[in-house]
């Protein structure tokens, strides 16, 4: 499972130049692509989320930080 996810990330890796290009205002095409990607993630997110969200959030306590 872990390995699959890492691979997934590496295939979507892009170069720095493309990052700059992609941040230029490019209109609706990019918005639509981003929306489609988000929809895909929303379809599967419940499988990944911690089982009991309420308990997970309540038990996450971090004292003594800077």
């Amino acid at each position: 499972m872990a390995e699959r996810e890492l691979k997934k990330k590496s295939t979507s890796q892009r170069t720095e130049d493309e990052v700059v290009d992609a941040t230029a205002p490019s209109g609706t095409e990019k918005s639509e692509k981003l929306k489609a990607e988000l929809d895909d993630l929303l379809d599967e997110i419940d499988e990944v989320l911690e089982d009991n969200a309420e308990e997970f959030v309540r038990n996450y306590v971090q004292k003594g930080g800077q």
């Binding site: 499972m1 872990a2 390995e3 996810e5 890492l6 997934k8 990330k9 590496s10 979507s12 890796q13 892009r14 170069t15 720095e16 493309e18 990052v19 700059v20 992609a22 941040t23 230029a24 205002p25 490019s26 990019k30 918005s31 981003l34 990607e37 988000l38 929809d39 993630l41 929303l42 599967e44 997110i45 990944v48 989320l49 911690e50 969200a53 309420e54 997970f56 959030v57 309540r58 038990n59 996450y60 306590v61 971090q62 004292k63 003594g64 930080g65 800077q66």
Partner: protein, 497 residues
Amino acid sequence: MAVAKVCGIETEYGITVHGVRDANPITASSILINSYINELHGNVDWDFVDETPGNDARGFARESFPPSEVESHLVNTVLTNGARYYVDHAHPEYSSPECISPREAVIYDRAGEEVLRTSMSAAMRAMPSGQEIVVYKNNSDRKGNSYGCHENYLLDRGLPFGKLVKYITPFLVTRQIIVGAGKVGTESPQVPKGQVPFQLSQRADFFEEEVGLETTLKRPIVNTRDEPHADASRYRRLHVILGDANMSEISSYLKVGTTSIVLSMIEDGFMDDLDLSLYDPVSSLRHVSYDLTLKRQLRLKSGKRMTGLEIQRVLFEKAQEYRDSRGLSALGPSGDGDSVLELWGKVLDVLETDPMQLSDSLDWVAKYRLVMGYRERNGLEWDDPKLAAIDLQYHDIRPAKSLFYRLGVRTILGEEEVKAAVTQPPASTRAYFRGKCLERFGDYIAAANWDSMIFDLGSDPLRRVPMMDPLKGTRDHVGKLFDESANPAQLLDSLGS
């Protein structure tokens, strides 16, 4: 002329033990780090001689959960990549080695994530089934407790501190528009519940002062800790405690990159005619963080009003002039200065028109879109624990559980260079000397510190090698000495120590 912006990122990770109720976080942090050390063999202790002792927790309460085969004493260690990996207060902290450029700083921060991941796997093998130590690269537990991701920058000692504070504050207050990691809700006791459904920054809720020495209470926007870990007659180290831990490499790169540019401008007196001083920096910090429209105006001391975005735009334009007249060589020899500047401008362009288009680049936008999408699809209220869980799990660094990794946010680094940085030190700072000493002669190193190495060769008294200049001890300076030294005594002889 601005000094080289040698820099580094210290990340305190949030820590939990799944499957154990009320686990002691100090014990858990110790187990995590010891598991990593056991995995690598050998351990070199950190030397506290030049540190301020009050800053490091030393006691801990042993609880019943630690597995017997893993030592859980408090750990401080130095890695062959030059980083320090240790228990700070109640968190595992990875402090990157000194880096020569913003890009290198991001590489070594990402290498830290690899170190933590390996630690988690190693710890899990030693723990009973059903128990797992898990770390989160974020800055808040959503209950009013915060932990930091600090940046460090090398500065010329000749720069008066008051001048630094005056010019860096408006930049630090407004940079969260670009580099914030985003948070569902607010933890500020002054803000009524529900008034801030989502904000740009993890940390803005926790800052109460403009300037000060504290890091755990009454946190200041500009921290005055004067501990250069270098020749104090020549250098200062600016310890920035305000920032968020970034998952996005682009956010992290812009965080260190734009800060390095602004610091260089201040050092060179290039900002002297640009007074953007805020009337109330602490309130402005929250106003910026709470305003997702990026349109809220801030009051300046001059009486003028500007949005955070406008302040960033003015600073960016100033930086362009600075590049044209002085160059950006302080950001390292690989052209990071120009690349940061270009990216800074492009990101501001998009933030001014349609910020949501940056959901594939910047942390706060990526998280906001995810939370909004989930909320709308499931018809949830803003206080639904599932949205809070998404916020936390965005920062999970386990590939199978991290929501950030699933978002497919753009990256700027190659996996190979991050992997190499887990064991190899940066070539162009003194971290090279530290890392190579540990790699080649680790058995003979009695202790290591940012600005010295202490050798124990057996018969002689301990021998200390000072490293007071962060720009010496590089591969160019000492690479050949390591090649020619078969043992640590030869190395010390060639160094004349």
